[in-house]
């Protein structure tokens, strides 16, 4: 009944990756995502994997934990691989069986797609594992703040995100508690067909929603009691600052992207 979600959970530490400015990490991740789609040869992927694995090693996060996050997308990776392998078009036919054909080019795309997905999950996971949710939203708010001039609610969006993130553990804990309480009354969440299982969720979801609304109400009241009125003229406790470390990370990413495009 343990509800643990690895994808997007902060792993505290003091590695160089942890110390990078969240804005820098966001931008680096973004450029990495772009880079992943530019890579178009086996050496390029080899370089990419070396980079990501080196970063993972630097972060000091157990590789086991990262593989656990990959587990959530195994199925998608396998499906993408199969679809690309069978339906990719190309000239050199490797296998032909009934209506299914596997071509060399199709297989190549399939392998690349699978590698891309793995890199994407690994890379973004490095971001969320080494950056606390608060730092992440802070970074996002600052990155989007130029758009505030054209009416984009950067602060409000960041506030909503941090509130949502802040309440994930609370709600998980609450769900766990309600689930246990209903289990103690003989509820069964695990067996039965789809309909039976969906129905079994009602005793869990109703109290969960009731309490989520109650919490939202209380939080809004508490914020208003402390005169919250959005982002205008707000100073912050932790001011984000770029350091030499961020510059070095940027240089390494630029080198990686150049290499990937060239190879």
């Amino acid at each position: 009944m343990a509800l643990d979600i690895t994808l997007g959970q902060f792993f505290p530490g003091d590695s160089p990756l942890h110390r990078l400015d969240p804005r820098a990490k966001l931008l680096l991740t973004l450029s990495m995502i772009v880079g992943v789609f530019l890579a178009d040869s086996y050496p390029a992927y080899a370089i990419f994997f070396t980079y990501v694995l080196a970063a993972a090693w630097l972060s000091g996060i157990p590789i086991r934990l990262m593989l656990k996050g990959l587990k959530a997308v195994y199925f998608i990776i396998a499906l993408t691989f199969v679809l690309n392998a069978f339906f990719g078009t190309g000239q050199t036919v490797l296998v032909r069986w009934q209506f299914l054909t596997i071509t060399r080019e199709g297989l190549r795309t399939a392998v690349f797609m699978a590698l891309r997905l793995m890199l994407l999950v690994f890379g973004t996971q490095l971001l969320t594992l080494t950056t606390s949710p608060i730092a992440l939203t802070d970074g996002l708010e600052r990155l989007f703040s130029p758009f505030a001039k054209v009416g984009f609610p950067a602060h409000e969006m960041a506030m909503m995100m941090s509130i949502a993130l802040r309440f994930i553990p609370t709600l998980l804990e609450e769900a766990d508690k309600i689930m246990k309480a209903q289990t103690a009354r003989g509820a069964d969440f695990e067996s039965g067909n789809l309909m039976a299982r969906a129905k079994a969720m009602i005793p869990l979801l109703v109290p969960l929603f009731v309490s989520a609304f109650r919490r939202a109400d209380e939080l809004a009241l508490a914020m208003e009691a402390r005169c919250y009125r959005g982002g205008e003229h707000r100073t912050r406790l932790r001011v984000l600052k770029y350091t030499a470390l961020d510059a070095w990370a940027g240089v390494s990413m630029a080198m990686l992207l150049t290499l990937v495009v060239v190879v």
Binding site: D4, A181, Q182, A184, R185, G186, D188, P203, V210
Partner: protein
Amino acid sequence: MPGSPFQSVALHDVSLTIPDGQFVGLIGHTGSGKSTLVQHLNGLIKPTSGEVLVDGQSLSDKATDLRAVRRKVGLVFQYPEYQLFEETVAKDIAFGPSNLGLSQGEIDERVKEAAALVELNEELLARSPFDLSGGQKRRVAIAGVLAMRPTTLILDEPAAGLDPKGHKRMMNIMRSLHERGGMTLVMVSHSMSDVAKLCSRILVMNKGTLAMDGSPEQIFMLGTKLTEMGLGLPESAELSERLRGEGFHLPPDVWKLEQLVECLPGLLSKKGGTGGGA
């Protein structure tokens, strides 16, 4: 989460047997492991090492029917009113029995019986549980567990956050469940006074381990040890402790309010005779 930096040991060195028909008070500081311990008692949490036996059956054993165990050992969580979900009070209380697959007649009977046990007015049964007061909601939630007809009932701070009237009422319900219903009760509490008044045995948890186990008399004689763990004594026990400290000759087994009322006049006149002006 084993293996991560968040791993910690919640309980260690806890050995105890609760015989049928006992009313046990479980007391301890916040974070001492009380709630974790009670969740082991009906198999909601399984120990990573060690064993929990209910009627001789190990809860870690795969052959044990945990649902049957949970029918025998009812567990009322802290703030149980947050688990209410049905449209009416009656339906909510009926959730447990209907999971047992009972006939409608049997279910109705159990709902009425459980509601009566927690002193819920029958006209409330048709109302929505969300329209009730906090104390009423709490009693509905307890009735929901009682409707399973457990032989043992475990309650995690049943009186937390209730006003004095609701508090007193809850304690009376606990007492009658034990005395008239003949149930085995385990009550987690912060209040020494409640535990002292009701329970025949007190377990004290401290830092994840069972620190003391004994009758209220035995426990309260260790007054200073309790205060070291951040726990208070019942007011009457504290007063007798302080009187002893002031040099009054109070028998060591005196700590209840009634005993004090009996002893004090004699003591005061004696002290008055020697020291004067009492």
